[in-house]
């Protein structure tokens, strides 16, 4: 039986609840990428192999409102898959997911933007895709532009923006959505220190307003500074969880030891 319903589902409180979630990817070894190959395979009676990988295994988390939870772990350990399940983009293969509230995934610098449109037009575009109404976007427009410090360049096409400008604008649109659940997946990589400090400050404020924030970054100092609690994942599973400062330190130490071991062995 899945875990019992928590009593914290008061109206207006965001809920993110994953219990016993599994996600299987089917990697088609030679999935025909082209129609031609698909036809050829059919004609030749070729059966292609399907490799199954479980990207997420028995994953359970229930972040509290007001909490910033970090997911750490090596590449390919399933962090992004978990976040996509929370965002509603991927369906879990097994297990149950309950998400209540407006979820806002933040995209990598400029990912949702159309190159040939201006910054302003892109605010409308990505705002609408994120689920804002036109009136809501119009109401928040000044704040979005101001927060990004984009007054002087918001009318120029996005293709002329630097990656820092893209990131500032993208973050600003998402942050002004007033989401209940904010997903921050590795988006700060190209930001300068001043910008990151502002983002950290902003995330803290969002959390204090009772939101749930899920945070992924490979910058461990950043995870330490931002997160309250950390889930350490390996091969799709949570192997440890605990307060950010302690667990991150351990994670870093382990990573270093592994590197030394491999380096020593390889020489």
């Amino acid at each position: 039986m899945p875990s019992t319903q928590p009593q914290s589902a008061r109206r207006g409180q965001p809920v993110v609840e994953l219990s016993g979630v599994w996600k299987r990817y089917r990697r088609h070894h030679d999935r025909p990428a082209r129609l031609k190959d698909a036809l050829l395979q059919r004609v030749l009676g070729h059966v292609h192999q399907v490799e199954e990988t479980w990207a997420v295994r028995d994953f359970t988390m229930r972040p509290e409102p007001g909490e910033i939870v970090g997911l750490i772990g090596p590449n390919g350990c399933g962090k992004t898959t978990v976040l996509s399940i929370v965002a509603g983009v991927l369906e879990p293969t097994r297990g149950s997911v309950r998400v209540e509230g407006r979820v806002c995934p933040m995209l990598q610098a400029g990912a949702g933007f159309h190159r040939d449109l201006t910054g302003l037009e892109n605010i409308y575009l990505s705002g609408a895709i994120l689920g804002m109404s036109r009136r809501e976007i119009e109401r928040k427009l000044d704040d979005i532009v101001h927060w990004a410090g984009a007054e002087s360049w918001v009318d120029t096409p996005v293709r002329t923006f630097s990656s820092g400008m893209l990131m500032r604008l993208g973050f600003s649109v998402a942050a002004h959505m007033e989401p209940d659940v904010l997903i921050v997946d590795e988006i700060l990589a190209t930001g300068d220190e001043a910008f990151r400090a502002r983002v950290r400050h902003r995330l803290r404020r969002e959390a204090e307003a009772g939101r749930i924030i899920l945070f992924v970054s490979h910058y461990m100092e950043e995870v330490q500074m931002v997160c309250d609690r950390v889930l350490w994942m390996e091969e799709g599973q949570i192997i440890r969880e605990g307060p950010a400062d302690r667990l991150v330190e351990e994670y870093v130490r382990q990573g270093r030891e592994q590197a030394e071991f491999n380096g020593g062995g390889g020489m």
């Binding site: 990817y25 359970t60 509603g88 949702g112 040939d116 037009e121 096409p157 969880e241």
Partner: protein, 279 residues
């Protein structure tokens, strides 16, 4: 904190999402309409902004085509088709709509890849916005080209209203095709090439640059099975023939459009769930 849920024997997964704004039907529909409008406008702006002549450019091409092919037909092949300019034009403009919408819908998910992979939103809005932006383009072309062709004396009769149902049928058909091709192309990335080649061939067996009347009678029967021929001839009966489109053309075009739409929706629904994983 993490009492693990015991392994669920059943593969059935439950996912429940409650968004604060998804409950209210009216505001949801309204937001969807706004999303469509914003996407459509974005497509149109992106399409015209980077070219020097912008919208005019896409009007010049059909005009050049008409002049050149008109010369070939009338002067070189000595086919005397009365009102040839109008005969060609009234069929060419809807054809361009068909051509634009189907081909532009193919790469739409690849273009919006990051968004599709990260954000849960109604994905059908992307191919539909392609159809709508092509529809806007089509409508503008109709208005402007007929203004240009005021040189050719055109009478405006009540039959012109038939353009609306014809356009709606074509739009319904294209919506089905766009939904279908947008997902198919994401799976098999040569759909666009295959489609380009097919459409080019199809152009010659569809009465666009010639009217069905000049087709030898033993083949005319087969032209009835081409839904685009029905639509092209439907437009042509309005101009230059100033009459109502033939009921068999209307009926066939309507029936095919509905079927095409249903088929497209079914394929899209079946395949769209996998899009974030395939991309």
């Amino acid at each position: 904190m993490t009492e693990r849920a015991p392994d669920q024997a059943a593969e059935g997964a439950r996912a429940a999402f409650r968004r604060p704004d998804s409950g209210d039907g009216i505001s949801r529909v309204r937001r969807l309409m706004e999303l469509m409008a914003i996407l459509t406008v974005a497509q149109l702006k992106a399409r015209y902004r980077r070219s020097f002549l912008g919208f005019l450019w896409s009007l010049i091409m059909p005009l050049v085509q008409i002049v050149v092919i008109g010369f070939v037909f009338q002067s070189l092949l000595q086919h005397d088709i009365p009102n040839y300019t109008l005969v060609f034009l009234t069929a060419l403009v809807p054809w361009i709509y068909f051509n634009d919408a189907t081909l532009a819908s193919c790469p739409v998910f690849l273009k919006f890849r990051d968004v599709v992979k990260k954000i849960a939103f109604p994905r059908w809005a992307l191919p539909m916005s392609i159809v709508l932006s092509s529809l806007v383009h089509f409508s503008l072309s109709v208005v402007i080209l007929f203004a240009v062709f005021a040189v050719v004396p055109v009478r405006f009769t009540a039959q012109f209203w038939w353009m609306i149902p014809l356009t709606l049928m074509l739009t319904l058909m294209l919506s089905g095709l766009a939904l279908m091709f947008s997902v198919l192309h994401t799976y098999y990335q040569d759909v666009e090439y295959a489609l380009t080649a097919l459409i080019r061939m199809f152009y010659f067996v569809t009465p666009i640059m010639y009217p069905t009347e000049i087709v030898p009678e033993q083949y005319q029967y087969w032209f009835l099975f081409n839904p685009l021929a029905a639509i092209a001839e439907g437009f042509r009966s309005i101009l230059p023939d100033y009459s109502m489109p033939a009921p068999e053309h209307l009926g066939f075009a309507a029936g095919f459009s509905v079927l095409c739409f249903i088929f497209g929706v079914l394929i899209f629904r079946r395949m769209q769930g996998q899009l974030p994983e395939v991309l």
